[in-house]
């Protein structure tokens, strides 16, 4: 652990985050994580289910998202609209969202009301019913949500890019589902999905804020203790994607005014001890004005107006992305050449100590900043736990970044950022058709 991190952790105002966390598990399998922060009279209640686009097959992509919508509707004790009516009437914020690896729901609520959130979430977990008529109208709502994607050219670029980047892995499917699948959902499939995935043994409950552990234990047991747990065995697609055999490329012409260039490389998942090095490289190459690609493309060559880079790995192998706004379509080949030159440089020359320290300092500062908001910390705990099986992962990642070396960076780049593994997506203006 570095001196600066030790300094921060030894400060009484920022004791190790672990000291504020408690966890327990009900007999039915529900895992519960609590985070105590009594500085504001607020509690964030979050429940995450291990189901998302990762679990979907062709023909019903997006069904987890459709189910998420339907769980706000009807239970045996609540009518459609009750969830929002009840939570709005006490001034709580609430929402649901679906992702690759999870479907999550949260309520941010005053500390004297948080039991209400538990009551509602317990009903959502086990007591939803899906009348045909309500399915019909919500199905249309989801179809409209899908159309919002259809009309945004950058969404098309993303969808096509992910699909060519993943030949077989479920990462190829958009969370919202492919249009044809969305049009063909049935209420039977929604019911089946609910029965299979929504139960305490397939969920993680995170409660953060002005709470007391004993009270949390008692209340969680009261509302969730009697719900039957049915462990779900999730398919493991970690190694399913074949090693890329050559560059893949998609060029999309749409009605756009500004081109977009997206370059990606498959990077290892969390079972690889070096996976976090991908984050360090992305930061050195594309985070901020002093990153290498920003300097090369925006400041020095003036070929682009923006550059960003990030490594997206939640669990299975993911992708490192470089997103660039070229000044014009014709400059794209030159921009690509410069990007690939910079990648060669990172393979062949050690990064400077200052570059590496900049990344490390940022991660350490973020460790403090992320705790500003109890909902933010709850999100980190929940997603970390559900994707890696251990909420401590996000803390371990900080230590791993702290220990990153220039040699690891060169090794990682040499292995993963190669021509054969490259995926390129280009979004450019439509060709003018002669009249």
């Amino acid at each position: 652990m570095s001196l600066i991190l030790l300094f921060l952790l030894s400060n009484s105002l920022s004791e190790p985050i672990e000291s504020r966390i408690f966890e327990f598990k009900l007999k039915n399998g529900l895992e519960v994580i609590g985070y105590v922060d009594s500085s504001a009279p607020v509690v964030s209640v979050n429940i995450y289910y291990r189901v998302g686009s990762y679990d979907e097959q062709t023909g019903h992509t997006g069904i987890s998202h459709m189910l998420e919508h339907m769980t706000f509707k009807h239970t045996d004790i609540y009518k459609p609209g009750d969830f929002d009516r009840i939570l709005d009437s006490v001034g709580a914020f609430n929402n649901g969202f679906t992702s690759t690896y999870y479907t999550g729901y949260y309520e941010e609520i005053a500390r004297d009301r948080w039991e209400l959130a538990l009551k509602l979430e317990a009903a959502r977990m086990a007591r939803c019913i899906f009348p045909d008529s309500e399915f019909e109208s919500e199905h249309q709502v989801v179809a409209e949500e899908r159309r919002l994607w259809d009309n945004r050219p950058t969404s098309t670029l993303w969808e096509q890019f992910e699909a060519i980047a993943n030949l077989v892995h479920p990462h190829r499917n958009p969370t919202i589902g492919w249009s044809d699948d969305v049009a063909n959902y049935t209420v039977e499939k929604v019911r089946e999905w609910y029965q299979r995935y929504y139960n305490p043994a397939n969920a993680v409950l995170v409660i953060a804020g002005d709470i007391r552990p004993a009270e949390v234990r008692a209340k969680v047991k009261r509302y969730f203790g009697k719900v039957k747990g049915r462990p779900v065995k999730r398919a493991d697609y970690y190694n399913i994607e074949p090693e890329p055999a050559g560059e893949r490329r998609v060029t999309i012409r749409k009605r756009v005014s500004v081109p977009t260039l997206l370059i990606g490389f498959p990077t290892p998942g969390i079972r690889d001890s070096l996976y976090i090095i991908g984050d360090v490289i992305a930061s050195i190459l594309g985070a901020g004005r002093n990153s290498r690609l920003y300097r090369a493309l925006v400041l020095d060559s003036a070929l682009a107006t923006s550059v960003s880079a990030w490594n997206s790995v939640e669990k299975d192998p993911g992708l490192m992305y470089f997103m660039i706004t070229p000044k014009s379509e014709t400059l794209i080949p030159r921009i690509e050449r410069i990007v690939y030159q910079e990648l060669e440089r990172i393979k062949n020359e050690p990064v400077t100590e200052r570059e590496l320290t900049r990344v490390k300092n940022r991660v350490i500062a973020d460790y403090i900043f992320e705790r500003d908001d109890v909902s933010g910390i709850a999100y980190l705990l929940a997603t970390s736990h559900i994707t890696t099986g251990n909420w401590r992962t996000f803390i371990d990642q900080i230590a791993q970044v702290e220990q990153a070396t220039p040699e690891q960076i060169m090794r990682f780049a040499e292995k993963y950022l190669t021509e054969n593994r490259r995926i390129v997506g280009i979004l450019i203006p439509e060709k003018k058709e002669p009249k």
Partner: protein
């Protein structure tokens, strides 16, 4: 680190602090330097971090229309170099500290935001003072920032929601600055010069037109001294008001269709002139518009359009919060525009004519008062609330009085607000998609070609 940039000489003795702390139960303080610069502090010692915002009470509303984008570009350029430190060095210092930072403008204000670890507070204040007092607007950086703004303006035409919103503003605000986006557009941005930025900065960035908010692991007494040491010498200047847009009330609803045959959904925005954020009806209007078109799952519009009919994913309405009267707007994206518009028109008319019910008002009271403390539980939330209460003059005790004001708002006030501030039959409306006039059955409206 501090030695990397030369600081102005700060005659501490010249600063007489005028304390104006209230008897608040919150650790919230407000002071004014004798040059008029206001300092607000919210002490929160949970974490060793600090959030700082510096705000000038002049934004895009002061831009000449033909050069719309000056305020925005000026704010962007504050982080692109000072008389003593280059843009690269500035970014290098802040990035090395792990800081988060940005600058920008809205119609009502220009701002710089900085979040850093508490141990770096002094460096942070040095940087804020330097970029606010001594911006250099270097030519290469200016050219680059202007090009970035131009790219962003061009990119907005790729987003259907932005296109509809820009056209709505153009039709509603006519020759007023509000007719164009804060950043300007592809016609105005190329006309902006470095000299324009210097003039805007010299005129508007004067201490009696600015305030600084600090939230986090700090002591107000110390912040007062630190700010006075850096800004106390700064000379007052003249402060002007921006010119309000002339309210437009078409005799009958005016509609413009933007035909886009490649879209499978129609984007709609309609509305009319709104109210100022200083209007005494602000709270009744906010309660009323929440009931009418606030949350998409439980407002009247949300229930009618989304929940009962499945016509859209998102439907809502709101009054712009601006110092000068902005717009009342309602928006939806749908494959069935005729049905959605009919329902939205119907809900506005019903609210205008019959008002809200006591149950709806009670729910709105509970939502506003219950959720308000959630908005400032984090440091970022506190900073946003303090920025707003100072910018709009709501008073230092706003965090405590706002819930009381909400609870004191009666059904009569809400219904009077609906009567006065909603104007069915007098909309400006923009519709974009694969639709024709005939598809919409809008009745007696004026079509804008």
């Amino acid at each position: 680190m501090k030695n990397n940039f030369a600081l102005v000489i700060l005659p501490f003795a010249s600063c007489i602090l005028m304390s104006a702390n209230s008897l608040l139960s919150l650790p919230l303080y407000r002071d004014t330097l004798d040059n008029g610069l206001v300092i607000l502090t919210y002490e929160d010692h949970r974490l060793p971090m600090v959030d700082i915002s510096f705000t000038c009470r002049a934004g895009a509303a002061f831009d000449p229309v033909e050069k719309a984008g000056i305020a925005s570009l000026c704010a962007q350029m504050l982080l692109r170099g000072t008389k003593s430190i280059s843009a690269d060095s500035l970014a290098s210092i802040l990035d090395f500290l792990g800081a988060r930072y940005y600058s920008g403008a809205d119609f009502d204000h220009s701002y710089v935001y900085l979040r850093l670890l508490a141990k770096d507070l002094s460096t942070g204040l040095d940087i804020i003072a330097d970029i606010v007092l001594n911006p250099a607007f270097p030519k290469p950086e200016f050219d680059r920032a202007r090009e970035e703004a131009l790219t962003a303006a061009r990119r907005s035409y790729d987003n259907p929601s932005a296109v509809v919103s820009m056209e709505f503003d153009r039709l509603l605000f006519g020759n007023h600055r509000y007719a164009l986006p804060v950043r300007g557009d592809t016609n105005t941005i190329p006309k902006i010069t470095i000299d324009d930025l210097h003039q805007f900065h010299q005129k508007q960035f004067v201490p009696n037109n600015c305030f600084i908010v600090v939230v986090g692991d700090v002591e107000h007494e110390n912040i007062k001294d630190e700010v006075a040491r850096r800004f106390g010498f700064w000379q007052r200047g003249m402060v002007e008001s921006a010119v309000a847009p002339a309210p437009i009330l078409p005799e009958k609803t005016k509609v413009k269709i933007i035909t886009r045959n490649d879209m499978n959904q129609t984007y709609i925005q309609f509305g009319h002139s709104g109210i100022s954020a200083l209007n005494p009806d602000l709270i009744p209007v906010r309660l009323m518009s929440y009931i009418l078109g606030g949350p998409p799952l439980s407002s009247r519009m949300g229930l009618a359009v989304r929940e009962y009919a499945g016509l859209a994913y998102d439907v809502r309405c709101w009054f712009d919060r601006r110092l000068l009267p902005g717009a009342f707007r309602a928006t939806v994206q749908t494959a069935k525009p005729k049905e959605a518009i009919a329902k939205m028109f119907g809900e506005v008319r019903k609210m205008h004519e019959s008002g809200a019910t006591p149950q709806e008002l009670l729910k709105a009271h509970n939502y506003f008062t219950g959720s308000f403390p959630l908005t400032y539980s984090s440091n970022q939330g506190k900073l946003d609330q303090l920025d707003n209460l100072e910018l709009y003059g709501y008073g230092i005790d706003w965090l405590e009085t706002f819930p009381e004001k909400v609870r004191a708002t009666t059904l009569e006030q809400v219904n009077k607000a609906a009567k006065e501030h909603l104007k069915p039959d007098h909309y400006i409306m923009v519709i974009m998609g694969n639709v024709t006039k005939e598809d919409l059955s809008l009745g007696d409206v004026e079509w804008i070609e």
